[in-house]
């Protein structure tokens, strides 16, 4: 497994590398929040995945080159864990020309075909059925690849998930549905959204190989992901719920007035980054070594802000590009239409 992945951590399957990846995610999120508060980010909505790092790193560890995936509105961590270039990510979130999508998509609609990222989605549940189609293709081609849908606990209440799981089971598809259960969907706690809080039971009822794992220890997520992915590659679709906690607000500016401080304090104890760091210390790594690593990461992520700010705005006429494939008939810009009409040409 993972032998051919471009993701650094994959070639070095030990806790230090997982820690490093998780810390990179957390630091990236921290920086992108800063970009946003400075007003340099495009997009009025910015959803940080702090607290969910083990889900991203732990699950992506089981993925390899050629696997495809879709994510949701809180997908930065997953994309980084699959090997994204933080500069191009940050630039995309900034709505800049050097971004993955040339500034059109932003945080919630980022994608990279090179890494098999079929797209984040601003529609809760919107990216889920695509993995069924991608897995149909993988199965048809017999290439051993899987397709993975990542989404939040809120999407457990979207009907399209059940349609998709049913199809995946019916057709024995190499698919995994990964629910990052951070306990909240905006201001709604999971038990305010459903009575059925044992999320994996719903997937099991559709015939999937389904588990829930505690996201505190990334090694647990890795082990669960390995089991589920192994099944999926063999044609039994899987479902994995990773229990974690949304450390901060729904969006960067949301102060979560709907939950108590105590709830937040307790919730943040489920900190996979801190947990991994403590485990590393316990294993004999020293603070200085980890501080050095953190510093390196901070520098890497600091640079993404500079990169983003330096990146040009997309030229205005790129607006008319990519509605359809190059060379295809395109709609006439409104301004030119009006001028033509009024000139009676």
């Amino acid at each position: 497994m993972n032998k051919d992945s471009p993701v650094g951590l994959q070639s070095n399957t030990n806790l230090l590398s997982y820690y490093r990846e998780m810390q990179r995610i957390r630091t990236f999120e921290d920086r992108v929040g800063e970009l946003y508060l400075r007003g340099e980010s495009a997009g009025s909505m910015l959803h940080l995945s702090i607290g969910e790092e083990s889900a991203a790193v732990g699950f992506c560890n089981a993925m390899t080159d050629g696997d495809t995936f879709t994510t949701h509105h809180r997908g930065h961590g997953i994309f980084l864990a699959r090997g994204a270039d933080p500069n191009r990510m940050m630039a995309e979130i900034g709505g800049k020309e050097d971004g993955y999508c040339r500034g059109k998509g932003g945080s919630m609609q980022i994608a990279d075909m090179g890494l098999g990222h079929l797209g984040a989605n601003a529609i809760v549940g919107g990216g889920i059925p695509a993995v069924v189609g991608a897995a149909l293709v993988a199965k048809r081609r017999g290439n051993g690849k899987i397709s993975v849908a990542f989404f939040g606990d809120g999407a457990m209440q979207q009907g399209i998930l059940y349609e998709s799981m049913n199809m995946a089971a019916l057709w024995d598809l190499p698919v995994v549905f990964v629910c990052i259960n951070n306990q909240w969907g905006m201001g709604t706690r999971i038990d305010q959204a459903t009575k059925a809080t044992k999320l994996h039971e719903r997937a099991a009822a559709f015939g999937l190989n389904a588990e829930t794992v505690n996201g505190l220890d990334v090694m647990d997520v890795i082990a669960a992901a390995d089991r589920i992915v192994e099944g999926a590659r063999a044609g039994t679709p899987g479902f994995l719920a990773v229990d974690c906690f949304r450390f901060y607000g729904h969006g960067r500016k949301d102060k979560s007035p709907y939950r108590t401080e105590e709830e937040e304090t307790v919730g943040r104890q489920k900190d996979p980054v801190k947990f991994a760091r403590e485990a590393l210390i316990a294993q004999g790594h020293d603070e200085a070594e980890l501080d050095a690593l953190d510093k390196e990461i901070t520098e890497e992520m600091d640079a993404t802000i500079d990169f983003t700010i330096a990146s040009p705005e997309p030229a205005l006429d790129t607006m008319f590009q990519d509605v359809y494939a190059p060379g295809q008939p395109v709609p006439e810009p409104v301004r030119s239409r009006i001028e033509r009409v009024l000139a009676r040409e």
């Binding site: 495009a42 997009g43 009025s44 909505m45 709505g95 800049k96 500034g103 059109k104 998509g105 932003g106 945080s107 919630m108 609609q109 989605n121 601003a122 529609i123 809760v124 549940g125 919107g126 809120g154 999407a155 209440q157 979207q158 009907g159 399209i160 969907g185 905006m186 201001g187 709604t188 305010q192 959204a193 459903t194 709907y258 705005e313 997309p314 205005l316 790129t318 607006m319 008319f320 509605v323 709609p331 810009p333 409104v334 301004r335 239409r337 009006i338 001028e339 009409v341 009024l342």
Partner: protein, 323 residues
């Protein structure tokens, strides 16, 4: 009294809910959170969770449940956080809510309001910035209100909450923070009537929702140049008050329609076609459509803004049309 659009909507809900115990709101984050844009903030304290029903993220069932509640005799105000999510609810909205009275031979109506909001202005990207009113306007059986002013935010919502048929009520996200001096005690125009916001002799601008403000801004600019525009705020697209349009267009003979929605097969097309049909002999020039580009909306702030008409394009078009 100076009031924000958001607060006028909120007040309308409060007043309506006090008056009619059968009205209740149902949607994501309408209760404890107070609405993604704050429209229902604090209402749960007065009316309780029974009348501000927080739902799971299940748009199709939210609309469907509202249909059932309306049939069972209450008056739900279902909320879609963004009109962009209407896609997954179009079956419940267009095949059920819109057609139930008809299919069942007039036995029953579906007096629900679907509150939602659309438009650009928050760099919210392709899936959170659309203007999808044409889908609704094209569907027989649905009423459609799109308030552009604070006064209308209040009164159109009050009126919508008295309609016997389903009303899609589309707010504009770029207007929530807008404050205007209003006297809500002035009785509103009849439901379904347009309002002439400004009278001028040279050209008629027909518009609705946020574009009202761009039209007014352009009209002021044009006035300084000696061009006087009539600006019509349609307020509701169904019913459509064509009489007001006709009365304005016939004496002037020059009209433009302004809409934020994508131009092709959009609301602007209907308005232009209708004006042309009805006022043909009075028109000196074709009715010009100033509308959104036929492209998705980018998250990039500049591209976003470029995708829909602004006051400059409205003014420039009027200038050329009058010239």
């Amino acid at each position: 009294m100076k009031l924000a659009y958001r607060d006028a909507l909120r007040q309308a809900l409060i007043d309506a809910m006090r008056e009619d115990p059968d009205i209740f709101a149902i949607g994501e984050e309408v209760g404890r959170y107070g609405g993604a844009y704050g429209v229902t903030k604090g209402l749960i304290e007065e009316f309780g969770a029974e009348r501000l029903v927080d739902t799971p993220i299940s748009e199709p069932a939210i609309v469907g449940a509202a249909v059932g509640a309306a049939m069972a005799g209450m008056r739900p105000v279902a909320e879609l956080m963004y009109v962009d999510f209407v896609g997954m609810t179009m079956d419940q909205l267009c095949n059920q809510a819109a057609k139930i009275r008809y299919m069942f031979g007039g036995q029953i109506g579906v007096p629900m309001v679907l509150r939602t909001q659309g438009g650009i202005g928050r760099s919210a990207g392709a899936q959170h910035s659309q203007s999808l009113e044409a889908y609704v306007m094209h569907t027989p059986g649905l009423r459609l209100a799109m308030p552009g002013t604070v006064y209308d935010a209040y009164h159109l919502l009050r009126q919508a909450l008295k309609q016997p048929d389903p009303v899609v009520f589309i707010e504009h996200k770029g207007l929530y923070a807008m404050s205007e001096e209003v006297d809500l005690s002035v009785p509103p125009p009849e439901w379904g009537k347009a309002v002439v916001r400004r009278e001028g002799r040279d050209i008629v601008m027909v518009t609705y929702s946020r574009q009202i403000h761009y039209a007014m801004q352009a009209a002021e600019e044009l006035a300084a140049e000696g061009i006087e525009a009539t600006v019509i705020d349609l307020r509701t697209l169904n019913p459509l008050d064509f009489d007001t349009i006709r009365a304005a267009v016939e004496p002037i003979g020059k009209a433009m329609v302004i809409s934020e929605a994508a131009m092709t097969a959009g609301v602007a097309a209907e308005l232009a076609a209708r004006i042309t049909e009805e006022c043909f002999d009075f028109l000196e020039d074709p009715v010009v459509r100033v509308a959104g580009e036929d492209i998705p909306i980018s998250v990039s702030v500049e591209l976003e803004k470029g995708s829909v008409p602004g006051p400059a394009l409205v003014a420039q078009t009027a200038r050329e049309l009058v010239a």
